[in-house]
Amino acid sequence: MVTLSTDVLVIGGGATGAGVAWDAALRGLDVVLVERRDLAEGTSGRFHGLLHSGGRYAVKDPHAARECVAENRILRRVAADCIEDTGGMFVATPWDEAAFADRFVQGCADVGVDCEEIAVREALSDEPRLNPRISRAFRVPDASIDVWKTVWALARGARQHGARVLPYHEVVSVNRDGDAVTGARVRDPRSGEEIEIEARVTVNATGAWAGRIAALAGIEGVNVLPGRGIMIAMNHRLVNTVVNRCQMPTDGDVIVPIRTVSVIGTTDRLTDDPDDHTVLEEEVEQMLDDGEKLVPGFRRARALRVWTGVRPLFEDAKQAPSDTRDVTRAHAVLDHKARDGVRGLVTITGGKLTTFRLMAQETVDAVCAQLGLQRACRTSVEPLPGSETGRHYHLGERLARKEAALAGEQMVCECELVSRAKLEQAIDRFPAASIDDIRRRLRLGMGPCQGGFCIYRTTGIMHARDGLAAEQANGVLLDFLQERWKGSWPILYGDQLRQARLDDWIFQGVLDVEHLPR
C-alpha cells in the first residue's frame, strides 16, 4: 500500500475543502486533498450559482449579511474569472409584504450592502420579462458564480503550490493514535486501491457529511442536519440579472442567470441522508408557481433540468452555554482539540458558497494554531489561476471563441459549444473520467438536448482517443444517459418532453442502447 505523508489532509473536495487546500498551500503547508467522487460533485456543484451581495440576509441575519458583503467584494477580485457580473435586483411582488421593503433598505444600509432603489419602469426596461405588477425595485451587487470553475481554479492553484489533489478517493477510516488524529486511509472506488495518508492535521471539510467523518474519528455530537432543496434550470436566460423577491428569505425567492440558463431556487426540507436526491412533484410545482410570480409565463418556458442540493445545517450538541460564538453564524469551525481534547482534527461545516473563502481562512487559522505556526492568510489578495487580469467572464465568451474558429472546429456539444478539440484535451488530461466528470469540466451535455446529440459523439471519440474498449464505451454511454435521466424525468412537460422523446428515439430507436454489449 502506498503511504503519503503531509502537513494537512483535507477531506472533501467541494468549494470549502478546495478553498482550505488553496489557503493552506499558499501558507506554505504541504497538503493532500481527498474527495470520495469528483471535485464539486456534492453540495457545491448542486447549487444555483448565486454570489450573494448580502441583501438576502440584510434583515434576517445581519452577521451573515456582513460576511457576504465582504466576501462578495473579495471574490470579485480574486476569483474574477469565475464570476459574471450580472448585478442583482430585489423586487416587491404583489405577494410580498409591502412594509418589508423599507426594512430591507434599512437592513442593507446597516450592514453595508450597496442598495439603490430604481423606478419600476427602469427595472422592467432592464428585465422585460419581469412581472409588470412589481411595486418597488432595488439594485444590489449580486452576481453569479460558476462553482465548477471556482473549484477547479482552487485545485489548480493548490497544485501549483505543491498540493496533491485526489478525487475518487473515499475515506475508509480515520486514524487515531491516542488523543490524536494522525490521518486517514482512503480507497479509490474504481480500482479498489487503498492509500494510507499520514497527516499532522486533518481537516474535515465534508459539509453535510461532516458528522460521519467526525464519527469515524470517534468524535460525537457533530450533528449536521442535511437540508434538501431543489433547483430548476430553465432553458435560457429569462432574466439577465439575479432577481430576488423582496421579502424574508423563503422558498423559490430567487432566479439566478448562470451561464446559458436561469435557475430558480430553492425549497428547504430536512432529510436524514445527505445523499438524498429526491425531487417531489409538489416541490417542482411550487418552484414553477414561484417562478410565475417573478416572471409571468415561467410555466410555459422550458425547464431543462431539476436537481437537489443538500446544505449542511450545523447544530452542535456539545455547544457550551458560555460559547461566545454568534448563534446566527451560518458556519462553524470546530477545533476538536479544544472541543473534544482530540488533537490533529478540525471540522468545518455549515456556511454558504459565498463565504467559502472566509470559512477556509478560519479553518486554516485553526490548523496553524494546532501546528504552532503563525502564517498570514493570503487568499483575500492572491488571485486564483485564471483570474489574474481581474476580468469577469461574460456569457458571450464561448460564442466569441467559436466565432474565431468557425470553419475549423468540429462541434461535439452544440448546445454548450464544446468543440472536439476541447473534449479531446479533457480526455487526455483525465483519462479515467466518466462523461459526467467531463460534463462538469466542459458543460458538455448540459444544454437543451441534455446530451441527446453529443453523448454518442463523445462516446465514439472516447473510444477512439482513449482506447476505451467498445463494451466499456457502451457502459459509459448508458451510465451517462441514466445520470441525465435522473434530472429530466421530474420536469418532463412541454418542450423538454418533446426533446426527451426525440432523444429517446435516437438512443432506443436508432442505437438500441439497451441491447448494446457491455
Binding site: 432553458n235 446559458t260 409571468p296 409565463g297 456569457l395 458571450g396 437543451p448 418542450d495 426525440l502
Partner: protein, 412 residues
C-alpha cells in the same frame, strides 16, 4: 392582460427558441450554410447562439450577417422556432455595435434611389451598364460588379395610376405596388390593375413608399420601423374604414413584411394600424386563387402556347399560402408550367448585391439555374422582382411576374 403579455413574450422570437429540439432540419434546408462555411447555419446562429446573447452586451458573432434572411429555416422548422427572425434581430444588434456600411445605407432605400434615378434613367442605366463604372462602384461602395441591377423604367407607376380612375364597382382593392413596380417595372403594376379591374375590383392606388424590408434585412431596424409604419398609415387611410376592402400587392417579400415580418422581427406587435393593415394584406395570386375557389374568378383565358418554369420565392413561401401562382397558371389553356423545386435563387433582396456575398448568392442559385436550363422553358415566372432579376442574370432567360401571363391570357 397578463395572459396576453405572457403569450407575446413566449411566442416572441427569443421565447420560441425553447421549442428547438436540435433536430437539424433547418440546417439541412439552409441554402446559404450549404454553400459557404462563412455562415454557421440557422440552428447554430439562431436558437443556439441566442442563448449566449445578452441584451446590451456587445455582439460577438458577426457571422450572423451572412444569413441571407430567406426565411426557409423558419418555414421548415417542425417545432415553430422563429429562426430567421432571431437571426434578423441578432443582425440588428450587430449593426448597432459595429456600424452600418455606407453601401447598406444606400441600397436599402429603394424609394430614394428610384427618385434619383428615374428622371435621369437613360444616364443611370447607361452608367450601370458600364464596366468601369461598376468596378468603381464595387471598390467604392462594395456593390459587386456583376450583381444584377434593374434598369430604371424612366417613368413612375404612380404617375400612370394618378392619371386614371378605376370604375366604381362596390368592391374595392387598395393596391400596394411597392418600389420595384414604381421605378423599374411599372408595366407589371399596370397588368395587376387591369387583371383586378377585369375581375370586378375598383382599384385604389394611394401615395406610398417603401415597406422598410431592405432596411430590416440589413439590420437597420429603427429606420425600418419608421418606414413600415409610414406605409401602414398610408394604406390604412386608403381602406377608409371599410371592412371589406382588401390590400393587394405583387411584391411577395414586401407583402410578407406587412403581413408578418414587421410585427415579428421589428417588434411592432402592438401597433394597431399595422395590425389592421397586416390582417388585410393579400398577395395578388393568393387573392385571385381565393376568388377562383369561390367561383368568382373570370376564366375567359385565351390559349398561350408556351412553356414557362415557375419558381416560388422563399419570401412567397413565408406567406404559408402554398403556391397559388402555380394553380392560376394551370388555368391558362396551352400554357405548359414546369414547377421548379430548388428552394432559393440566392439573391435574398439586396444580399446578393453585396460584394462579399455575391459569390455565395450565385452558388446558392446554381441548383435553380440548372433546373431552369434543363426545363425547356422559354421564360420563368416568379413572384418577386429581385429573384426575377437574379434568375435572368443567372440563366439569361427572361422572367416575369405570374400576373403577366394571366394578363396576356385575358387578352387585356
Amino acid at each position: 392582460m397578463t395572459d396576453l403579455l405572457e403569450l407575446a413574450e413566449h411566442e416572441s422570437p427569443r421565447g420560441s427558441l425553447d421549442h428547438c429540439v436540435k433536430c437539424t432540419i433547418c440546417e439541412t434546408a439552409c441554402p446559404v450554410s450549404n454553400v459557404t462555411p462563412l455562415f454557421p447555419g440557422p440552428k447554430y446562429a439562431g436558437p443556439q447562439a441566442e442563448r449566449y446573447r445578452v441584451g446590451g452586451e456587445p455582439s460577438v458573432d458577426a457571422s450572423v450577417d451572412y444569413c441571407s434572411g430567406c426565411g426557409i429555416c423558419t418555414q421548415v422548422c417542425p417545432q415553430g422556432v422563429k429562426i430567421a427572425e432571431l437571426n434578423a434581430r441578432a443582425r440588428d444588434a450587430l449593426k448597432r455595435d459595429r456600424g452600418v456600411p455606407v453601401r447598406d445605407r444606400i441600397i436599402t432605400r429603394p424609394t430614394a434611389l428610384g427618385r434619383l434615378g428615374t428622371p435621369a434613367a437613360g444616364l443611370a442605366n447607361f452608367a450601370l451598364g458600364l464596366r468601369p463604372a461598376r468596378i468603381a462602384a464595387e471598390k467604392l461602395l462594395g456593390v459587386h460588379r456583376d450583381a444584377p441591377m434593374p434598369r430604371f423604367a424612366g417613368r413612375r407607376f404612380s404617375r400612370w395610376a394618378r392619371g386614371r380612375t378605376s370604375p366604381a364597382t362596390g368592391r374595392r382593392a387598395v393596391y400596394f405596388h411597392g418600389c420595384g413596380t414604381e421605378y423599374y417595372e411599372p408595366e407589371t403594376g399596370e397588368q395587376v390593375v387591369a387583371v383586378l379591374e377585369h375581375n370586378g375590383f375598383e382599384v385604389v392606388v394611394p401615395s406610398q413608399d417603401c415597406c422598410g424590408l431592405p432596411l430590416q434585412s440589413s439590420g437597420l431596424f429603427d429606420d425600418a420601423r419608421r418606414t413600415v409604419l409610414r406605409l401602414a398609415r398610408a394604406l390604412d387611410g386608403a381602406l377608409g374604414g371599410d371592412p371589406d376592402t382588401v390590400i393587394v400587392g405583387n411584391a411577395t417579400s414586401c407583402t410578407l413584411m406587412l403581413k408578418r415580418e414587421a410585427r415579428e422581427i421589428l417588434g411592432l406587435e402592438d401597433d394597431p394600424v399595422l395590425k389592421r393593415v397586416s390582417e388585410r394584406v393579400y398577395d395578388i395570386c393568393e387573392l385571385l386563387l381565393e376568388l377562383h375557389d369561390r367561383g368568382e374568378l373570370r376564366t375567359d383565358f385565351q390559349p398561350v402556347h408556351e412553356t414557362v418554369a415557375y419558381h416560388a420565392p422563399c419570401q412567397q413561401q413565408g406567406h404559408f399560402i402554398g403556391k397559388p401562382a402555380l394553380e392560376l397558371l394551370a388555368l391558362v389553356p396551352g400554357l405548359e408550367v414546369r414547377e421548379l423545386t430548388a428552394r432559393c435563387c440566392g439573391i435574398a433582396g439586396t444580399y446578393g448585391l453585396k460584394a462579399e456575398k455575391y459569390e455565395i448568392a450565385m452558388a446558392v442559385g446554381r441548383e435553380l439555374f440548372g433546373q431552369i436550363e434543363g426545363s425547356g422553358a422559354g421564360s420563368v415566372a416568379c413572384d418577386s422582382e429581385t429573384c426575377r432579376w437574379q434568375i435572368t442574370h443567372g440563366t439569361g432567360r427572361p422572367s416575369a411576374h405570374p400576373i403577366e401571363y394571366l394578363h396576356r391570357a385575358y387578352g387585356l
